[in-house]
């Protein structure tokens, strides 16, 4: 897939995964890399940016004798995800059109 396209989808994927529950960096990275082919080091800048934009927040919780940082989606993050979904729905219609998958075809 085109690198530029992946970039745009990355934010949406992260936000979407977080709606299913709080999680931590490594686990989140694994989930994303299972889904699309990006370097595992791509995630840190994305997470950091989403945090400074207020779309997600972090908290620390103890895990086997050390602190682990968890990510949680915020209200505005959920709002952003809804926007992404709307955009993707439009994108899907276009993809369907190009690939001839439209049922009414």
């Amino acid at each position: 897939m085109d690198a530029q396209m992946k970039k745009g989808l990355l934010d949406a994927c992260v936000l979407h995964i977080l709606t299913k529950g709080d999680t931590y960096g490594y686990k989140l990275t694994r989930e994303i890399t299972d889904l699309m082919d990006v370097s595992e080091s791509s995630l840190y800048p994305v997470l950091r940016r989403l945090e400074t934009q207020g779309f997600l927040e972090t908290y620390s919780a103890e895990h086997s004798g050390r602190l682990r940082r968890y990510y949680r989606i915020t209200g505005s993050g959920a709002g952003r995800l809804t926007e992404y979904k709307k955009e993707l729905a439009e994108l899907k219609r276009i993809v369907d059109f190009i690939t001839g998958g439209d049922a009414n075809g």
Partner: protein, 441 residues
């Protein structure tokens, strides 16, 4: 901890030097925790490392993200420089280095110019406002309207400069932002790293900046409008407008004086910027008709057989020394009885025009910026001795029947017309033109 992982973290730390301490710690903590979690889940260190980019590249991406965020939060040269410093490391190909250098050079040049313009405009506000107030304080307190008008005009001009400064500032910030985005794109080119930061950042940061600058802009508009309202109410701008467009002032008091030829043998006139006209005929007496504008004062007396007229400012107009460089269309007309032979007629005006339409010599006329028009009646008559004329101007030109005349000298332009007789007309203007027509030979 595994040696390879430790060396990875060390390299990362070394490459993050120069970043804000908390940003650096944040990133290192993240990767430390990342490895702990990976190993805990039984992953092989080699495999984990192979799935990550080299630490130098990771560090570069983090630096870029951090600095572009800084630029978007506060688009100034300082943060831009940070971005540029973190960016140049990632460039290797000669062409991209060249493009990069060009972009940076252009951005810096424009930014510095815009920044200077902002500073100069802001400085102008700091100069104009105190200057207007000090000028207003010089006006006698009975002219309260002019005082308010002067301050109002100062406030208006300050408001304009605030808006201009604001305009330059508004250009400066997006310039830095756009250039930063370009730098960011250059860095990201060819890299697998994600981040369409530029676009995303804009939609949240833009709003807060807009709100703040919007307030500033409104303040500038209010100041400008208030200054304009006050000054217009005082009528001062209208007065200045009339003067600078060579139109007759609205409030004029006409003053008439008459002197018998027996009482006076000479005339001395000085005006600040009211026009002077020396005319001939109509009466047996020397008649002086003065259209007094309300910002001027005058004094007329017979000083041992010499009529002396002096004009001065009554302090009502601000910056009078500047204003009086321009002619005041209200003027002074001196009508001489025909055939009267004066000892001398001295006419001087700083900014006013002097028109000489009389055959009474000798005449001495002098202005600083005003024009001098000499029109000797063509039907002068045979009993008149033709005048000897000497005209000189430093910066202006001498025009005789619409033709440029005179010789260039050390002084400026000088023109001489000699005759056998002694009565002469001496004309001198530092900056104005001297125009001669109907001159008899």
């Amino acid at each position: 901890m595994d040696d390879r992982i430790k060396s990875f973290l060390d390299t990362l730390a070394a490459n993050l030097d120069g970043l804000a301490e908390d940003e650096k710690k944040e990133a290192l903590d993240y990767y430390e925790e990342y490895f702990s979690d990976a190993l805990e889940e039984g992953a092989d260190p080699d495999e984990v490392l192979s799935r990550l980019d080299p630490p130098e590249k990771i560090a570069a991406a983090i630096r870029a993200e951090t600095s572009i965020r800084l630029v978007h939060n506060d688009p100034g040269l300082k943060n831009y420089s940070k971005l540029v410093r973190s960016a140049h490391i990632g460039l290797t190909r000669p062409l991209s280095v060249l493009m990069f250098s060009l972009l940076i050079f252009t951005t810096y040049s424009i930014a510095v110019i815009l920044f200077l313009c902002t500073v100069i405009s802001a400085a102008a506000v700091c100069i104009i406002l105190p200057a207007a107030i000090s000028e207003a304080l010089k006006i006698p307190s009975m002219y309260i309207g002019e005082m308010a008008g002067t301050i109002g005009m100062g406030v208006f001009a300050s408001g304009i400069f605030i808006l201009v400064a604001f305009g330059f500032y508004m250009l400066y910030r997006p310039l830095i932002r756009v250039s930063a985005d370009l730098v960011f794109k250059m860095m990201k080119k060819g890299s697998k790293n994600a981040g369409s930061a530029a676009e995303v950042h804009r939609d949240i940061q833009g709003k807060t900046v807009k709100r703040r600058t919007g307030k500033f802009f409104r303040a500038g508009l209010i100041i400008t409008a208030a200054g304009l309202a006050v000054s217009l109410a005082s009528g001062l701008p209208v007065k200045l407008f009339l003067i600078f467009n060579s139109m007759k002032p609205a409030d004029i008091t006409v003053i008439k004086e008459e002197f018998g030829t027996g009482e006076a043998s000479g005339i001395s006139i000085y005006t600040e910027h009211s026009n002077i006209r020396l005319a001939e005929g109509g009466s047996e007496n020397i008649r002086i008709e003065y259209e007094k504008a309300d910002w001027l004062d005058y004094d007329i007396k017979n000083d041992n057989g010499r009529i002396v007229f002096t004009e001065r400012s009554n302090g009502r107009l601000p910056l009078f020394s500047l204003v009086s460089l321009h002619e005041n269309r209200a003027g002074l007309v001196i009508s001489l009885p025909s055939g009267w032979k004066p000892d001398s007629v001295d006419l001087e005006s700083r900014g006013g025009t002097i028109d000489i339409e009389s055959g009474a010599f000798p005449v001495d006329a002098k202005t600083y910026t005003g024009t001098i028009n000499l029109k000797v009646p063509a039907d002068g008559g045979s009993d008149r001795i033709p005048p000897a004329i000497s005209a000189r101007t430093q910066k202006g030109t001498v025009l005789i029947r619409d033709k440029t005349s005179g010789a260039s000298t050390g002084y400026g332009t000088e023109y001489e017309l000699s005759s056998q007789g002694s009565p002469t007309i001496r004309l001198e203007s530092a900056r104005g033109n001297i125009i001669l027509s109907n001159t008899q030979r």
